[in-house]
């Protein structure tokens, strides 16, 4: 019997699990994916928005601003990279400038730092801004992270402190019992007092399993597509460049990433399935056309990848975070579309301290263990690197030439709690395959290392899900 079962190991589920792991309660996290942060949390803009644009009075407005302020400390505590890179929201005509007026006043109301700049002033700081930009609002507290690295670190620390995690397990039924809930998966049956539904794109289906009828919200998957540019293109922008927001959301952005790539995107298209995370030629063209309105001189010959992600949007535009009215102890943390990532740490506190006020009052643990951060060789000076290599020569063996990832880092990513079990899992944690060769050189080496470390044949190594077979036969 668990105290709490969390369904979904995305960024929201991970923050909730991490928060609860500091208390004396028994928590199980279940996810159908092969890794933590593998769907919406994997494919998004990776921005910690400052919180000036959600509509006043919404949960989004409240939690975005709070979450943005929590991230720097949380990332430091977890030992993952957070970079405050700042952002411009730019206007190209007087109508758009009026929208900036609204954003500016919302920012002032929420105590979000905002600098009003002329187009000329803005272009001095960002030379590739389009000549048609007439004004820009700068939000210096805007940050970037690798969402999956944050989620993985949170879950790792939660597991170190007793949280149980079941991956590749799909919830198939939830039934209310006298003492709580029976959660049935395709592999096992679990009992718990409370259920937290953080199932992202599948949240409405999970809730329906428990309710045995249609819930009062539905998830509308909205697909966003992106280009990724090689780090050689990193000088295109220094900050995130947003157009003015419109009915479809924040618009098409130009975004620096932690590894010095540039993301271009996203568009926003409603799709009919939560699995439709495919790229389409039309959306990629749309992204190209719209990026050009705010930023010029984009080197499209430096594109190294495209990807698409799905946002789990709700019906009314706001997050849906509440306890079920008919199912006591069943909490929906649903419709977490943008700014879900930026809000996630505040969402966890909101769920525990406000939604479930008084009921999750488990005592704090006195023996809480912090994770040991992954040592990224790129972040060390030469002397520290050489100390690492002297202790463990595998840190001197470069596996990924593009991102300069050593074998030692890959072994660490596999061997630690919530370690990588797949090629994609290794890529998410330490980066081989994120660079310009897209794994062309390093993937066979990563497959070798995984097979050896996991004690399996290479034909058993997976790219991601159990069905994502790579090598089919030994010759």
């Amino acid at each position: 019997m668990y105290d709490i079962i969390i369904i979904g190991a995305g960024i929201t589920g991970s923050f909730i699990a991490h928060n609860l792991s500091k208390r004396q309660c028994k928590v199980l996290v279940i996810d159908k994916e092969a890794d933590v942060a593998n769907a919406t949390s994997m494919a998004n803009s990776a921005i910690i928005h400052a919180g000036y644009d959600p509509k006043p009075g919404t949960l989004k407005a409240k939690l975005n601003v709070l979450g943005n302020r929590m991230y720097p400390d949380i990332c430091k505590e977890l030992g993952v990279t957070y970079r405050k890179c700042s952002a411009f929201v730019v206007a190209v005509d007087p109508d758009e400038s009026k929208i900036l007026d609204t954003l500016k006043s919302q920012a002032e109301d929420r105590d979000v730092t905002c600098i009003d700049r002329s187009g000329e002033d803005a272009r001095k700081l960002e030379p590739n801004l389009s000549p048609s930009v007439i004004r820009a609002l700068e939000f210096p507290d805007t940050g970037i992270i690798y969402p999956w690295n944050v989620a993985i670190a949170l879950m790792e620390e939660a597991v170190l402190n007793g949280t149980e995690l079941k991956l590749c397990e799909k919830v198939v039924d939830i039934t209310k019992t006298s003492s709580g809930y029976t959660v049935t998966t395709d592999k096992s049956v679990y009992e718990s007092e409370y259920v937290i539904n953080a199932a992202g794109l599948y949240a409405d289906r999970i809730y329906e399993m428990a309710l045995k009828s249609k819930p009062d919200y539905s998830i509308i998957p909205k697909r966003g597509e992106y280009y990724v540019l090689d780090e050689m293109a990193q000088t295109v922008v220094n900050r995130i460049i947003y157009p003015v927001p419109g009915p479809a959301g924040k618009g098409v952005l130009v975004i620096p990433t932690i590894h010095n790539n540039i993301l271009l995107g996203p568009n926003s298209d409603i799709t009919d399935s939560p699995d439709n995370n495919n790229n389409t030629a039309s959306a990629l063209n749309y992204v190209k056309q719209n990026v050009g309105k705010t930023v010029i001189n984009i080197p499209y010959d430096k594109v190294i990848r495209t990807f698409a992600g799905l946002r789990p949007s709700g019906n009314d535009g706001d997050f849906y975070i509440k306890e079920s009215e008919s199912l006591s102890g069943f909490v929906n943390v649903a419709c977490i579309d943008s700014p879900g990532l930026a809000s996630a740490p505040a969402i966890a506190e909101y769920v525990i301290n406000e939604v479930m006020q008084g009921r999750f009052n488990y005592e704090l643990k006195s023996d809480y263990i912090h994770r040991t951060p992954i040592k990224y060789m790129n972040e060390l000076d030469d002397e520290a690197k050489n100390e690492m290599i002297a202790q463990d020569p595998s840190y001197g063996e470069i596996v990924c030439r593009c991102c300069l990832v050593s074998k030692g880092e890959i072994l660490d990513a596999i061997r630690r709690p919530v370690g990588a079990t797949t090629v994609k899992g290794v890529k998410k944690r330490v980066g081989p395959g994120l660079g310009r060769c897209q794994g062309g050189f390093c993937e066979p080496l990563v497959v070798d290392i995984l097979a050896e470390e996991l004690g399996i044949d290479k034909t058993q190594v997976r790219y991601d899900s159990p069905d994502s077979v790579m090598l089919v036969d030994k010759m």
């Binding site: 280009y227 990724v228 050689m232 699995d275 995370n277 495919n278 790229n279 389409t280 030629a281 990629l284 594109v303 190294i304 990848r305 495209t306 990807f307 030469d382 690197k385 050489n386 290599i389 002297a390 020569p393 595998s394 840190y395 001197g396 063996e397 470069i398 030439r401 593009c402 300069l404 310009r436 060769c437 897209q438 794994g439 062309g440 050189f441 993937e443 066979p444 497959v447 070798d448 290479k458 034909t459 997976r462 790219y463 991601d464 899900s465 159990p466 069905d467 994502s468 077979v469 790579m470 090598l471 089919v472 036969d473 030994k474 010759m475």
Partner: protein, 419 residues
Amino acid sequence: MGVITKDIVIIGGGSAGIAAAVCAYNNGCKDILLLEKDAELGGILLQCIHNGFGLHRFKEELAGPAYAQKWVEMLDATDVEVKTSTTVIHLSADRLITYVNPREGYVTIKAGAVILATGCRERSRGAIATPGFRPSGVWTAGTAQKYINMHGYMVGRRVFILGSGDIGLIMARRMTLEGAKVLGVAEIMPYSNGLPRNIKQCLDDFDIPLYLSHTVTDIKGHDRLSSITISKVDENLNPIQGTETDFDVDTLLMSVGLIPDTALATEAGIKLHPKTKGAVVDEHMMTSVPGIFACGNGLHVHDLVDFVSLEGEEAGLSAAKYVKGELTHDKSLEITAGEGVSYVLPTYIDTKAMEDNTELKLRVGYNARNVRIVLSCGDRQIKEINKLRIAPSEMEKFPISRDELSGCTQNLTISVKEQ
């Protein structure tokens, strides 16, 4: 302790790098260090177990590893210092090199001359933004070749290949011989990008269809690849709606171009060529940064390894001269690609410092028969060569002597003209 210095440091121990080392050594430079990231010398040749290498160089048809072995033996006969499993991390314009390996850690050395022989990488599915899902089973042809030929693992059973570059064609045959069904090869251009002999020996001989003016427009499969769609393209290379054909395959191999690896060249501030994506060089293979030379597929993509070795030797010879102070770097003529030529190397030629004879290397922009390749200086035609046949897949060489260039003061243009 001061920084260790070496007369010549060669980055990359593939066909270009080994040839550069051997040639520099045999031309009087004995203090040479060759750095190779893999555990063995030979580079990409080691996974090219098909034959066809060495016809020009050794007058015999060798498999890739055998061709590499011949060069490694020549290298073994020298005192060139070799470090394998050693990755170069940094290169600066003043020729400071930082490398790392498990034995020494991070080490910075200073070179009198540097030869970049870094090879190329394959353009990936991501780089050409092929729409669709992102399942496993989509690889570049060279990565699949490595899995099969070096690791001994089969990558799939029903295969489609996008791009008719040589590696894609070789892999069509290789996969077929290993029992896979290759359903076809699509090429976006109206002509193949591979060598004619490979079209014949790898596709025609196995009845594998080649779909010219076609590209992959969709990829399906949430886990492993389940099917792809190809479409015909119009003259602007845009897919034509209504021409889609689906293929149920578990594997898609991409052979859509090779790009010189210029990460280190870029860091050192070396000027890059807009067309080759490699460095801009003069006739001594010297880049825009004095003392740094480039050669092989890290400079521009070759179709025959024999010519990669030859270019490595040119760079080796030049670097040896440079460290001995015998290479002058005077004001040079610029050579540009004219009509019908997609690129020409070198970009600069110094009529005073050049050898008696040299060669321009060029790729043409289209297939044609009975044409002339013409080198002009302003309005004046300097030299022309008749060609029965030209193709973008085959590098053309254009010999030129110092005498022929005497009196040239303006920039040179090389073009394809009808006879």
